[in-house]
Symmetry: C2
Subunit: 241 residues, 2 copies
C-alpha cells in the first residue's frame, strides 16, 4: 500500500512503455526479431484481453471515421474500459497506432529481409538498397493514415520520436548496413554512411510523401522512378575528382 508510491513517483512519466510491451519488467529482453503480436510473454490474461479489445475498437473506429477524427477517450469507451487503462497501455495515440501497425508490418519485414538476407552474394548492394526503398513506397501507400497519425504524435516533448521508434530504427539499420556494403564494394564514392542512411530515408518520410502525393500530384510510380534515377546517380562514376 505504501510500497507502490515509490514506483508511481519515481518514474513519473518518462516513456515508461518500452514500445508497447509492458509486462513483468524483465530488464533487458532479447531484441525479438519477428515477435507475434498476440500472447506477450508474462502478460496477465485480463491485460491481454483488454489489449485485444483496445486494438479491435481502435481499428473499427479508425475505419469508420478516419484516424484523425477519433480520440483516445472514444477508443476507451468503445473498448469498454476507462481512459486510465488505455493510457496505461498506450501512453499516447502514436503508440497505439504503432501497436496497430505492428500487425501490418509482418509482410513488409519478411519481404525486406528476404530480399536482403542472402548477404553480399545476392547482387550489388545498391540494387538491394533500391528494392528496400521501393518497398517502403508501397508500405507508405498501404499505411498512410496510421503513419500520419504516428508522425502527428511526435510533437512537443516527443519531437523526433519517430526516429527513435522501432520501425525507423529497423529501417535505418538495414539501410546503413547496405550502404556500408556498397561503400566497401566501391559502388559508391566515399560518403558518410550514417548520415547517408538518414538522407536516403528522409525523402520518403510520410509527411513529405503525402504532400507530394496530394499537393504536388506525384504518383507512386513517379516517386519510384525518381528514387531509381537518384540511386543510379549516386553510383560511383569517378574516384573522387
Amino acid at each position: 500500500m505504501a510500497t507502490r508510491e515509490a514506483r508511481g513517483l519515481g518514474q513519473p512519466r518518462g516513456e515508461g512503455h518500452d514500445g508497447g510491451r509492458a509486462a513483468h519488467g524483465r530488464p533487458d529482453a532479447p531484441p525479438c526479431p519477428a515477435e507475434a503480436p498476440e500472447a506477450l510473454r508474462g502478460e496477465r490474461r485480463d491485460a491481454a484481453e483488454n489489449r485485444r479489445r483496445i486494438l479491435a475498437a481502435a481499428r473499427a473506429l479508425f475505419a469508420e471515421r478516419g484516424v484523425d477524427a477519433v480520440s483516445m477517450n472514444q477508443i476507451a469507451r468503445a473498448a469498454g474500459i476507462g481512459p486510465g487503462t488505455l493510457y496505461r497501455r498506450y501512453a499516447h495515440k502514436g503508440l497505439l497506432c504503432q501497436g496497430l501497425l505492428e500487425e501490418n508490418t509482418g509482410r513488409f519485414r519478411e519481404e525486406t529481409a528476404a530480399r536482403l538476407a542472402p548477404g553480399p552474394a545476392a547482387g550489388p548492394a545498391l540494387a538491394r538498397l533500391e528494392a528496400v526503398l521501393l518497398r517502403l513506397i508501397a508500405f507508405n501507400e498501404e499505411n498512410a493514415p496510421l503513419l500520419g497519425a504516428i508522425a502527428d504524435a511526435a510533437c512537443g516533448d516527443r519531437r523526433g520520436a519517430i526516429y527513435g521508434g522501432p520501425l525507423y530504427q529497423w529501417l535505418y539499420r538495414i539501410v546503413l548496413a547496405t550502404v556500408e556494403e556498397a561503400l566497401a564494394a566501391g559502388e559508391l564514392a566515399p560518403l558518410d554512411a550514417a548520415w547517408l542512411a538518414d538522407a536516403l530515408l528522409a525523402p520518403l518520410a510520410i509527411d513529405l510523401y503525402l504532400f507530394q502525393r496530394h499537393e504536388r500530384g506525384f504518383t507512386p510510380e513517379r516517386i519510384a522512378a525518381a528514387v531509381r534515377q537518384f540511386l543510379a546517380s549516386l553510383r560511383a562514376g569517378q574516384p573522387v575528382a
Copy 2:
C-alpha cells in the same frame, strides 16, 4: 450586425490567415519579395500596435521559459490582450512562430539571394546548390527552437503545413531552379528535378536534423561535410549506363 455572420460562418477555419498578414483582404497581392515586418499595408493602427506587443511578449516568454513551455493563453496575457485577439491574428502557435521567424529571416534570404543572384554566370549550379544547403544548416542552428515549434504545429489537420509555408516554398523554388540549371548544364545525370528538390531539402528538415544533432551526436560540421560529399557524388560521372 447581420452582415458579419455570413463571413464568420462562410469561412469557418480554413487557414484564413494568409501567412501572418491579415489586413484589408486584398485578393491577390504581389509576392512581396523582401517585405519589412513592420507597417503592413492597410493594417489598422491599433492592430499594428497589438501585433508588435504580441511578438514582443512571445519573444520574451520564449527566451525566458523555452518555446515549448509557453502557451498561447500565456502569450495573450503577457501581451495584455484577450486570447480571441491573439487567435484572430495567429490562428495557432506555429503561425506565431513563423511571424517571429520572419524577423530573423532577412539575413538568410539576402545572403542566399546574393549567392544565387548572378545567375548562370556565377560558377557551376551545383556549387551554388551547395552554398544554399550549407547556409540552411547554419539557419537550422540559429533558429532551432522556433523551427521545432513550427514543425510541431503541423499536426493533425495541418499535417504537411510546413511544405506549404512561405519558408519552405521559397527554399523549394530556389533549389528547384538551381537543380534545373544543373541539369541543363549537364552537371547532373537525368533526374526528376521537382522530386530531387524535395529530396535534397528533406535530410535537413528540422526534425531529423535535431535528432542527428542530439541523439546521434552529429556536429554541424559533420553534417556539412556529409552534404558536400553527397552533392559531389551526384555530379554526373557517366552518361546514364
